[in-house]
Every structure is written in C-alpha cells, then in structure tokens.
C-alpha cells in the first residue's frame, strides 16, 4: 500500500468488537497516470493565483499613470515573467480541456422545466466561447479592434 490514509477514514461511530488495522491508501496512488494528471490539475492553482496577482499588478500600474504603466510593461519583458506566462498559457489550456470535458456531466438534469442541451452540444458551445472570447480579446489588446 502507498501509506496510511487518515487514521479515522471510514471509521464507524463506535469501534467494532475486534481491533482493526488502520486504513491504507492504494499502492499505486502516487504513481498512477490518472492520479498524476489530477494532482497536476490541482497544482495549476498556484499558477492561477500568481496570474491573478500579476494581473492585479499590471492593472494597478495602469491606474497609477504613464510612468508606472510603462515600467510595468518593461518589467513584463524579463525572461522570468515570459517563462512564467508560457507556463501560464500551458496551464490554462490544460485546465480548460480537462474542466470542459467534465462540465457536461456536472450539469443538473433540469432547472425547472428546462433541460440542458446534450453533452456534445454543451462541449461545442464551451469551446466556441473559449475560442471566440480569446480571439476577441487578442484582437482588442493587439490593436486590431477599437
């Protein structure tokens, strides 16, 4: 086994009549490919947290005037920032693909009289929205629109 689970995992309210051996986690828990993907998914939380904080920094600079803004833009040119944002891009794509895959089955079967569209339709709508929002945002930020 891969190691002890929580000592009270699945424990009954009152102990049984004989001494039990403590609960163990599955043997291949840490090395299983599906589990590794799941743990990777959770660890993108660190990337998202930093992305939010860096976005805060940039927007704050924008509100502080031209010098602060230009300084912030210049700071973003550091290799560390660029490498982080490369990781950030990989993270959001990984998260999007995994999350969108789960999204349809997490929808309630109905809200009042309304039923959700079939899963392939939900998936298509999600990806279209993702691509559409991205293209729109890129066009605006890159100077092509407005």
């Amino acid at each position: 086994m891969a190691g002890p689970a929580h000592p009270n995992a699945m424990a009954p309210a009152k102990p049984g009549r004989t001494r039990t051996a403590p609960p163990q986690m599955p043997a291949t828990w840490w090395s299983h490919p599906r589990i590794r993907t799941y743990l990777l998914f959770g660890s993108t939380g660190a990337v998202y947290l930093l992305l939010g904080l860096f976005a805060l920094r940039v927007v704050w600079a924008l509100g502080s005037g031209p010098e602060a803004w230009n300084a912030a833009i210049a700071e973003l040119e550091s290799p560390l920032y660029i490498a982080f944002h490369g990781l950030g891009l990989a993270s959001v794509i990984f998260v999007g693909v995994r999350f969108f895959g789960f999204f349809p089955k997490a929808q309630p079967s109905r809200i009042g009289p309304a039923k959700p569209p079939p899963p392939p339709v939900i998936l298509a709508m999600l990806y279209l929205a993702w691509i559409g929002v991205t293209i729109l945002f890129v066009a605006i930020l890159a100077g092509g629109l407005f």
């Binding site: 743990l39 939380g45 660190a46 976005a55 803004w69 944002h85 950030g88 999350f99 993702w130 890159a142």
Partner: protein
C-alpha cells in the same frame, strides 16, 4: 473554523467554478498578448497598441473594468481553492484548519485590491 468554512463553502465554490470557466477563457487572450506577444515584441501586436492612452481608455470603459476585474478576482479563487484541495490530498485534514484561512485570506485581500484597482482607473 470548520463551521465557518462549511458556511462559506457554497460562495467559494461558485467563485472557484467561475474562475475555472470565465477565468480560463479570459486568461488565455490576456496571457497571449500581455504575457507573451507584447514582451517579445511579436508582429502580431500593433505598435502602440498598449500605449498608455489607449490602454487606459480601453480599461476605464465600464466593460473594460468588468473584464479586468474578473481577470484578477476569478483566477485568485480558482487558485486558492485548488491549492487548498491539493493540500488536503496530501494528508492535509488538520493542516486545512489553518491553511484554508490563509489561502482564502490571500484571495480575499487580493480581490479587494483588484476591485480597487479597476475602480481607481
């Protein structure tokens, strides 16, 4: 603390879910331009596209403020919530009692700062 965390859980889950959904969608374009194309001076970006005047005009538009606000706040909650669960997955039930308040505390403070940041534009 456990009682408090149970009570706020629905709100956090909603913010986390939107961080996954809206946050991911917004972040993709943001990272592509602000994080990569502009710093690398790629041809994709028009010169002066993010010069101060234009950037400020776009951002201080009501829609701009909303989008930037979402871009800051939602990923924070996705991040904090996922890190909390990651910690629990590593035998973290006890640790959760002090780690969850720290993570959600960071997200709260940064969210307030984010709202302030878009208001003061």
């Amino acid at each position: 603390m456990r009682e408090f965390l149970l009570r706020v859980e629905p709100v956090i889950w909603l913010l986390f879910g939107q961080g996954l959904l809206i946050g991911t969608m917004l972040l993709t374009g943001w990272i592509l331009i602000v994080g990569i194309a502009v710093p690398l001076h790629l041809d994709l970006v028009a010169p002066e596209a993010l010069a101060f005047e234009r950037a400020h005009a776009l951002a201080s538009n009501p829609v701009g403020r909303l989008v930037l606000g979402a871009l800051i706040v939602l990923p924070l909650w996705k991040g904090a919530h996922h890190l909390r669960h990651l910690s629990i997955d590593f035998r973290g039930a006890e640790r959760d009692l002090w780690l969850a308040p720290i993570l959600y505390g960071i997200a709260t403070v940064a969210s307030l700062a984010g709202i302030l940041a878009v208001v003061r534009l």
